[in-house]
């Protein structure tokens, strides 16, 4: 098991939301990143604007593990309301940092941890006049205290502050004063640094710290999406914020100042879906970001787009359900919903990115797949991926990329045709040709969600109806060869055990696999990246006697989807389910697998 040790420990900061601590926490994390040390940041925040508890967890991982560890080694306990909880969460041998401006009698509870008191508020009150600034400066003071304890380079902190306040030079010095208050106090009162600390490495070159929603929004821009509609919902909102920001920066006509995009904030999710489907019908690459509750509301339209074969992209940034659930906590609970969204027989293409780099790539691929297969495509992310910063390789772009617009007939094409039938399988690949409105009278057709035949005419004839829905199924199945294939990591030797994970469960699963193998428990690993499942998925299950399916929901949604859509035997698949709302950690996965593996050894 992990640390704490050099470049291997977890700091958790407990604060109150609305006090400006987010920038202080970001500063801490980025300082470590700038020192060349891989780092992971997880923001656990309430569905509230001001006054409720919020935490930020920073995992320093010199080995580059991208998931949570499941332990806390330093707790920066700035919120009195969660003090007991924060103290209890600290690992044995850990360090608790608190604001000793106020006495904390309950500190006696944990003789196995070191308590470090710093009079943060008192010191800030002495040098800062304005009340609001005092609170902000107190945040910077704990940054300084933590920096002293774990040996973060003050020059790196200063350069980051200088970048942040480049436009307001006055704030650079005042922030540094606050940092120094905490730093100097700790240096003069305690032995520094601690046993676990950072030391500069060279492991973050060519890397960026970026969240999945921002990366996905860039993917939409680079894919050539011109139309976006959405109804604000946590945690998808920042995806559209990113799209707005980058369109304004990159998509405005230089001379005319006019937009080469259209973004509409809809009145609800139903309208958002209608807007993008209308735009896509008329030839624009269109998308909407939403979350589970939005998918529920959009379901009627999703079935319409599926049946009428309109290419649209739905970004589902999952959050904890059911119903309103815990809107700011993570889960992978829409796996089943997105696979089969809407009434009637419907099956969709779904992509499962696991880091921001893949968010960028899969966003682009979503549009290509949607247009090639003329169908809705779902991009299934979650709040952990969407709203937390992840360290990934810098995003790159191939300028030779050409969008796959699929089979769209031009006026010339129509001129050469005897007649045009919107839903006729001309090429035998299950994908018909589509025409855009306004092209030519010959291309005109009537789009309807009611029964229609290959010529887009209304029908209630069984065989005509079946011809279309059978083709839709064949079309969906043919997407198997076009969607991203799973990624398989084989253990060094042969093993009877396999493990399957999806999306953000990957980081913890990968780390668990590495550690288990080091402990003599080799497990082969496969990360599923798309639905429909490619043939490798079934083969992987067939190749192992027992397969752990790691996912973040109660009902084993991926496992059940595997059972439904492959020939896998139920008794082979063992669910490993984490659904507390906190991102998965490797300890949880290790524990679950070890228990089973050891049990078998004993037997």
């Amino acid at each position: 098991m992990s640390g704490p040790g050099l470049n291997d420990f977890v700091i958790k900061i407990g604060t109150v939301n609305g006090t400006g601590s987010a920038s202080a926490n970001g500063l801490l994390m980025k300082s470590i990143f700038r020192m060349g040390i891989p780092v992971v940041g997880k923001n656990v925040f309430p569905s509230n604007i001001q006054g409720l508890p919020t935490w930020y967890e920073i995992r320093v991982s010199g080995d580059g593990h991208a998931g949570r560890s499941g332990e806390v080694h330093m707790m920066v306990a700035m919120n009195q309301a969660t003090y007991d909880q924060d103290l209890a969460e600290l690992a044995t041998g850990g360090v608790l940092l608190y604001d000793s401006t106020w006495p904390r009698p309950q500190l006696e509870n944990r003789p196995d941890v070191t308590v470090i008191g710093v009079p943060l508020m008192k010191m800030c009150n002495e040098v800062v006049k304005a009340a609001r600034s005092r609170i902000l400066m107190k945040n910077m003071a704990y940054v300084g205290a933590v920096a002293a304890l774990v040996d973060i380079d003050l020059a790196v902190i200063r350069s980051l502050i200088e970048e942040t306040f480049a436009a307001k030079a006055k704030l650079i010095d005042s922030n540094m004063v606050a940092v120094k208050l905490g730093y100097d106090y700790v240096k003069s009162h305690y032995d520094c640094p601690l046993r676990f600390r950072v030391a500069a490495l060279d492991k973050t070159k060519g890397k960026v710290m970026i969240d999945g929603n921002t990366a996905a929004s860039l993917g939409c821009v680079y894919a050539g999406a011109t139309f976006g509609a959405w109804y604000p919902i946590t945690p998808s909102t920042s995806l559209m914020d990113g799209f707005v920001k980058y369109c304004k920066k990159l998509r405005v006509h230089e001379e005319s100042g006019k937009n080469k995009f259209c973004i509409i904030q809809a009145e609800d999710e139903l309208a958002a879906a209608g807007l993008i489907i209308g735009a896509a019908w008329n030839g624009a690459r269109a998308f909407t970001p939403t979350s589970g509750p939005g998918i529920s509301l959009m379901s009627e339209w999703i079935g319409f787009a599926y049946y009428t074969e309109i290419p649209v992209v739905f970004f589902d940034i999952q959050r904890t359900g059911p119903s309103t659930g815990m809107p700011t906590r993570t889960q992978q609970c829409d796996i089943q919903t997105t696979a089969y969204a809407s009434h009637g027989d419907t099956k969709h293409i779904v992509l499962y990115p696991s880091d921001p780099n893949e968010c960028f790539d899969f966003a682009v691929r979503s549009f290509d797949l949607a247009e090639r297969f003329q169908t809705p495509v779902f991009f299934l992310s979650d709040i952990d991926l969407g709203m937390n910063d992840w360290m990934v390789d810098e995003l790159t772009w191939d300028d030779n990329y050409v969008p796959d617009r699929g089979k769209v007939v031009t006026k010339d094409d129509l001129d050469k045709m005897e007649s045009f039938s919107r839903y006729l399988d001309v090429d035998g690949d299950h994908i018909p040709y589509r025409s855009l409105p306004g092209t030519d009278p010959k291309g005109a057709y009537f789009l309807r969600g009611s029964g229609h035949n290959a010529h887009a005419r209304y029908t209630e004839l069984g065989h005509e109806y079946q011809e279309i829905v059978d083709r839709l199924l064949a079309k969906w199945e043919s997407a198997k060869t076009a969607v991203p294939a799973p990624i398989v990591q084989k253990a060094a030797g042969s093993t009877r055990y396999g493990m399957i994970a999806i999306g953000t469960s990957d980081a913890a699963a990968t780390e668990a696999r590495t550690r288990l193998e080091a402990d003599g428990m080799p497990v082969d690993y496969m990360r599923v990246r798309a639905f429909p499942f490619t043939d490798e998925v079934e083969a992987f299950i067939a190749d192992h006697e027992e397969v752990f399916v790691v996912e973040q929901n109660r009902d084993a949604q991926l496992l059940n989807l595997l059972l439904t859509e492959t020939n896998a035997a139920r008794e082979k698949l063992i669910p490993v389910l984490h659904y507390s709302g906190e991102p998965l950690n490797y300890r949880f996965v290790c524990d679950a697998l070890m228990k089973r593996i050891k049990l078998r050894k004993i037997a």
Binding site: K260, A271, I277
Partner: protein, 351 residues
């Protein structure tokens, strides 16, 4: 079945429009509505308006929701792209379609059920966005396809074919549109072809959201004694306030009435909508006054018709969005791709 192909029969010496097309070129499939349905008259008026405006059928969009009225998109202009969408959601689909290409004249067909119950929200938001479309609300006060339940436009106390009188006040699309911000608001009657054709033409030429509330009686479920949406009742209480004619840029405005009674409203295409006030006191450019007049007519059980409000100055959605004149769906990808260098540069903030 809503899709019987209708044979195109051309007659000798048939009049042709500027494009050389005959009226039959604007027709669609056979209607499968009940004989005498008001909606069929509305369809005929739409055919005539598009024909007279010489709009190439393939350059127009016709979009509808669900219901008897929404079926009618199939009964005109077979050479247009049409979409029969989801119940109450025609406005969002139409708005999206128009956003991708604002060059296509767009007509949305809906009914009182589709618009005033399930679709009230979407209709309102298309109005406040001033989407450049003509929205036809074919209003008969009942749900036809589900066999005669009251809709939200049924008047308080109106009698059903069977059962108890309607217990709830009606939502008046005109008053609603006035309050929400539509920029072209009219009411007409399926039985008044002349007025209806004029209004459709003016509505299509208006830049922004135009709504025509058409009283379109349901012969099967709401044309009996005691119904306030029957042919007989509509004829009895029919009142014309403002007549509107579309005058193309090439035509001259001819004032055939006394000054004060005729008012030209200039359009973005250089043409005019010429208003002929049959009620001399009515000012259809004053939203507040129009609202008062509409409320007043309701108290008198009068069915006030004609172009009841127009505001040609408000920016439409395309303008509010500061979009290029060129349709989004015609911008080549080379102009949309910011390139690899830009991607690299913008990531400085993530290091």
């Amino acid at each position: 079945m809503t899709s019987f192909l209708k044979p195109k029969i051309r007659r000798h010496n048939e009049p042709l429009n500027e494009l050389g097309l005959a009226r039959v070129d604007y027709e669609g499939n056979m209607s499968t509505l009940c004989a005498g349905c008001g909606h069929d008259s509305v369809t005929a008026a739409i055919v005539r308006a598009f024909y007279e405006l010489s709009i190439p059928p393939h350059r127009a969009l016709k979009i509808s929701g669900i219901g008897c009225s929404s079926k009618t998109t199939s009964y005109f202009m077979n050479d247009s792209h049409g979409a029969n969408t989801v119940h109450g959601r025609m406005p969002s689909f139409a708005t999206g379609a128009l956003s991708a290409n604002n060059d296509l004249p767009t007509i949305g067909i809906s009914g009182d059920g589709d618009s005033l119950s399930i679709g009230l929200g979407q209709m309102a938001h298309a109005m406040r966005r001033n989407v450049n479309m003509l929205y036809m609300l074919e209003n008969n006060g009942v749900y036809g396809l589900t066999k005669g339940q009251f809709s939200a436009s049924a008047d308080l106390g109106s009698l059903p074919k069977k059962g108890d009188p309607n217990e709830f006040p009606a939502i008046d699309p005109v008053a609603f549109a006035l309050s929400v911000g539509a920029t072209f608001i009219a009411r007409s009657f399926s039985g008044d072809r002349k007025q209806l054709v004029s209004l459709i033409k003016a509505g299509l030429k208006h830049k922004g959201f135009a709504i025509i509330d058409v009283i379109s009686p349901c012969v099967s479920f709401n044309d009996h004694k005691g119904s306030t949406k029957s042919y007989a009742h509509t004829y009895e209480f029919y009142s014309k306030a403002v007549h509107a004619d579309y005058i193309a840029p090439s035509q001259e405005i001819v004032a055939a009435y006394d000054e004060g009674e005729v008012m030209p409203v200039e359009l973005h295409d250089g043409g005019y909508i010429q208003l002929r006030k049959l009620d001399a006191d009515y000012d259809p450019t004053d939203r507040g006054a129009a609202f008062n007049r509409v409320m007043d007519s309701e108290r008198k059980n009068e069915i006030l018709t004609g172009l009841l409000f127009i505001d040609e100055k408000q920016p439409d959605l395309h303008e509010t969005q500061n979009m290029e004149a060129r349709p989004l769906n015609e911008i080549p990808y080379t102009e949309l791709n910011p390139g690899a260098d830009a991607l690299s540069a913008l990531q400085a903030e993530f290091r």
